[in-house]
Symmetry: C2
Subunit: 220 residues, 2 copies
DNA sequence: GGTGTACCGGATCGCCGATCCGGTACACCG
DNA sequence: CGGTGTACCGGATCGGCGATCCGGTACACC
């Protein structure tokens, strides 16, 4: 675009230093619009108006960028009020459900996040959500092995659910349905019942199973 | 580029020494010993005593290799006996537990598999295990939304659990524990209770929660 | 005016996935 | 037995990648 005049162009931000936060934010935006495969250090640098090598001043490897981007997603998950209060009995269930729902929603907003789940979730945002979960469940009466099992079950459920839903959306639905229907002899039950269901409802119902089972053991 | 996956394409005739099965088996071995990052078409070809370009006769892209390798892992999961029989009430619970345990074990034997979970699990081995799950749950009395929720909950639980355990093992335990303990002020409950637990027991206990909650709804 | 330090980027290295295109072995037909 | 098609193989190559080397530049502070 040579014809563009200076006056119509936003003035180039002088002295706008490249910060880690800007890099991460742009990485998230790039992942959102183009997906994980298209995230390269060169492309990311280009979007930031800089050279690719410059990024390595702020970051050691590309994996750092991915780790930070993943934790940024977790940062979008609001923490419910009253984390560990013993307010009314059963209040823990509402708070846990709220966290699980918000957590799932954040991951679905950034589908690439499910592909990054194999790697330690040790960022501050991930840890503080996990801490909230532990604290809430501990306040509900879970202790020892029950506490660990309850917390992990919920995490597994949320992340596993987001992964499955994302995956299904990626598979071009039509092709998959045709494929399944064409093999309904080999997979009769699956072909008959596995295709049409509402993800939101399935998630909520399964979460209900899990929480029901946990309630029996919690005592409160 | 996206549309069709390996499963939808007719399998190419193979008669010579290099077969698709050999490629997949070698890919699994390579992934087991060196991890996903080290799986390269060149390296894989070298292990097979051939040139890298030859692989592309049997396979369209590298993703095909990964899809096939993942399905090979699922093929290691034995199907419990009597998939859909209505034998004794509650028998479905034992069969579902058995499948879940074997499924988890297979994924833990091949830790790289958890990193491939974001992609359609449409291979024959994955589908037949899912079919078994659906059939068993349908035989237990689940229908409609309850069937979908029960089946998905269990899948999410198994895959999510394998992912979390694998991830934790990758993170050099010592570093992670130090990191958490150093921040016990920010994450008190997590630092106090989140470190020491037996994965097998945590898995079994959480699965118990889920199955308990499901039992209430199943009627049998 | 000098100097240290925080930041930037052109050039380059080794490796990757993928493709082009010319080969080779062998079944099958005349 | 000789020809021919088809299934299979791989050297050379292309564009792109993550990462590093090392020489620059702007600015705070003395």
């Amino acid at each position: 675009m040579a014809g563009e005049s200076v006056w119509l162009r936003p003035r180039r931000q002088e002295r706008q230093t490249l910060t880690l936060d800007r890099i991460v934010a742009e990485a998230v935006a790039l992942l959102d619009t183009e997906g994980e495969a298209r995230l390269t250090m060169r492309r990311l640098a280009e979007r930031l108006g800089t050279g690719s090598t410059t990024l390595y001043w702020h970051v050691k490897t590309k994996d750092d960028v991915l780790d930070l981007a993943l934790d940024a997603v977790f940062g979008e998950v609001p923490l419910p009020d009253g984390p560990s209060g013993l307010s009314e009995p059963g209040g823990w269930r509402a708070r846990v459900s709220e966290l699980a729902g918000a957590w799932r929603a954040a991951m679905l907003r950034h589908p690439w996040s499910t592909g990054l789940l194999d790697r330690p979730m040790m960022g501050p945002n991930a840890l503080s959500r996990t801490e909230f979960l532990y604290a809430t469940l501990a306040g509900a009466g879970f202790t020892g092995p029950d506490l660990a099992a309850a917390a992990f079950s919920l995490s597994m459920y949320v992340t596993g659910s987001a992964t499955m839903q994302t995956r299904e959306r990626d598979a071009t639905d039509a092709a998959m349905r045709d494929h399944l229907r064409a093999r309904h002899a080999a997979y009769p039950t699956l072909a008959a019942h596995g295709l049409d269901h509402d993800w939101d409802e399935t998630f909520a119902r399964g979460l209900g199973y899990l929480l029901d089972g946990m309630t029996t053991r919690s005592g409160r």
